[in-house]
Amino acid sequence: MYEIIIQMIGFPIVFFIPGFLIVKKDNILERISLSVVISILISIALIQYLNFIGFPINNFFLLAYIPIIILLVFLERKNITIKNLLRKKEVKYILIILLLSILLKILFFSRSNWLPLGSDIVRWGTVSHSWFLNAEITKDLMPFFPSGNFFIYTPTTLFMVLITETLFFNPASGAIIISILMSSMSVLSFYLFCREFLNQKKAVYACFYYTILFDSSLIYLANRFMLSFSAGFFPMFLSMFYISKGFNEKKIDKMIIPSLILLVTTHLFHIFPVILFLISVFILKHDKKILKKLIILGIISLLISIIIFLPYFLIFMENIGHTSLPFISAEWYNYEIISENFNKNIFTLLLYNIFVNGMEPFFVFSYLIGFMITLFVFNRFKNKKKVVSLFFIICFISTTFYISNPLFSRFSTFPKIVYPISLSLLFNDVGSATFWTVMAIITPRSPIWYSLFDFNDTYLDVTTIEEIHAYEFIKNNVPPDSIFLIDGGGEGIFEGHSGSHGDRIFILTSRRIFYYSGIMDLEEYQKRVRIYRDVSINPNNQTAIQALKQHNITHIFIGPTDIGLDKDKFLESNNYEKLWQEGNVFVFKII
């Protein structure tokens, strides 16, 4: 009960209130968006600097906000007239769409048993949980995780997960809350962006169509739970809003700085196409004054982001170059060369930009609808030739990144921003909205379809109820210093994936797992794979059992999708005792 109260009070304090007290904007929607951005940045800076000067990371983190909020309330002199602002029709419509967006995500996560899909959460959660248990931000994750060296380029989402841990959320639940917050806010910021060049009615409809048919943030959550990438859409749209607003009003708002900082630190891998897009916009308007100011504000944003993340970079500075070690370069190259995008020609990739979701190339039907509508409404624009050219040029720019690095393929989402806008130009009445809602429900791989019916099950990533019960059993019955052997660990240094969902044991129960992803030492990594293979081939092999004991492994977890670890062999063996079973999920103890 106490924990729930802290969560209810703490979440708005950490992710909304400080920003809301700082930001003074007449536009309530802009104020809400900025409040979230600024609060996130304050929280991230606070947790890092407090830890840097010696305060441990624990559940008392929330107390640090008391002086901040008192100070901000004291400085706040302008009365907040939220009531009047909410009376605006536009605000009502958008808040309803926002609620719809939140509802879709809640439905989505409820269907995945309230556990995120995919292995990204294990990567973020493992680091965050190790930090939390160690009570400090450190590159040495021992003894909880066998890694003394790692580096993550997108620290914002990592710190957001850590902050939710201080509010008694486990890393998985924290990631879900963050996902709901960031992806819903991306809908709000998308509206702000559209409002700059569409009238109110069309912008509302564009926002609605984005939510039900094209919400990229949710589409990426539904496919391997790309937390960091999904979270980046919010600051990206907000930055685009401030840039377009700047060009329209011939004046750049300094509030672009927080959204640019958040964009850089959630989207660092993926910033380049955004920059290119912005350059395109600059060239279109060629307003030198605004361009100059934007560049200055961009540099200021980078400098402030360095200051905010200084403690993090000071700790991890020496590990930044680790990604260029020869065996890691070869591993990345191996990953890239085998990926589907790598061997495709530029014209196929161009089609990918139009119809296909990027990272895991699959056809999204709503993109086909969006593209067809876009072709149709091109005629409605004043300079249709230029519009057509611009659209394909943006696709073309995005395509170039596939060629240089298939990881950039996820940017195929970028040109698709135009689809909901096109729909709103053609369909902006209640009847059309109803029609498209029905279409969204029956259109495979639309956000609403993902929320109601299906996941991308390529990775069999929905954690089963039996597995969740097993985690509960482990938490309540297995000694805290136990170590679990699970089915697999990772293809290499960066790619971590277990067939069994045993990788979730650590983040949900704090019991350690014998894992081998994220280890920068190839020899140690391969030694671990060898032990796993030997136990898989013959669990009674005495050399393998000795190796397990040498690594202090005490338990075995086997799930319904496991390949290597064979439950029948463990059941037959005298070297293992079955502690728990439900369905095809087993927990064994090494005797």
């Binding site: 060009f247 279109l284 070869a330 230029k386 170039t400 660990g489 293979r533 898989s536």
Partner: protein
């Protein structure tokens, strides 16, 4: 509407300028791996595969080669590396548990000078 105003030709030119170097960017590593695998043994417990391979490089040198067998997309059940001479035929045996499952074999190579390469396809190992 800022998106759709004038000067689109400038964008086209800039895009092409950006595109050309990226399109011609080196896609292949300086080394390449040619490989063929066949099953040489199978019983209820294990399968053994023999893989003939050649690390193709412009230079004759010693390089590390790595064999990675995965299941469930990314879970490695076999990962070994050792040194070989480039441009020479070699052979390596892989033993994995028999699960009536299709494992995936990938291979890459690297050396201390920073050169690297990889097999440009994965091989299915049914076992």
């Amino acid at each position: 509407m800022f998106l759709f105003s004038k000067s689109y030709k400038r964008i086209l030119i800039i895009s092409l300028i950006l595109l050309i170097p990226l399109a011609f960017l080196e896609k292949r590593g300086p080394m390449d791996i040619k490989m063929e695998c066949k099953k040489i043994h199978e019983d209820g417990q294990i399968c053994t595969f023999s893989c003939d391979f050649n690390v193709v490089s412009q230079k004759n040198k010693t390089t590390y080669i790595r064999f990675i067998v995965t299941h469930s997309t990314w879970a490695a059940i076999y990962d070994e590396s050792f040194t070989v001479q480039t441009n020479k035929n070699n052979s390596h045996t892989i033993t994995i548990p028999n699960r009536e499952y299709t494992y995936v074999l990938k291979s890459n190579c690297f050396d201390d000078s920073g050169d690297f390469g990889a097999m440009s396809f994965s091989i299915e190992l049914k076992c």
